[in-house]
Symmetry: C2
């Protein structure tokens, strides 16, 4: 079994109104040192071993469903989980 952590972020060139709203809230709460906020997604997938190549499976899942590659970038990390 593998635990796969996927991080999805908006591309640099894409506006992030949700992040801007959070930044403004933080600034108004007396955290003026916060100059920028970008909000993304974080996913943890538990994936069982199979015949297919894990990297290929992850990449195709991301590109078909999990990530909107027009406006988002992604990266992922794979951890092996030793079953008890």
């Amino acid at each position: 079994m593998h635990k796969v952590k996927v991080y999805v972020t908006l591309r640099e060139s894409v506006l992030d109104p949700q992040g801007t709203a959070v930044q403004k809230s933080l600034n108004s709460m007396n955290y003026q040192e916060v100059k920028d906020v970008r909000i993304g997604k974080y996913m943890e997938l538990s994936i069982e071993k199979s015949d297919r190549d894990l990297d290929e499976v992850i990449r195709s899942m991301c590109e078909k469903l999990l990530v909107n590659t027009v406006i988002e970038d992604y990266r992922y990390e794979i951890e092996e989980v030793i079953a008890p």
Copy 2:
């Protein structure tokens, strides 16, 4: 300037209907090896140097605004950004 990466996840004991929906979609798209999906948030904050302790600032921002500590856990990483 520091770049702070905050990862917010649902607590283990909290149901994640969004994750379950994504898992079912992946399973129906012929990714049967996916056994569990949990969805969280990922935030990148750019924080300017100030007199206050950075860890304390981050923790109080998380607990006051960014994280619902009743149902969510969080962790963060700090990266120093060298201005050009």
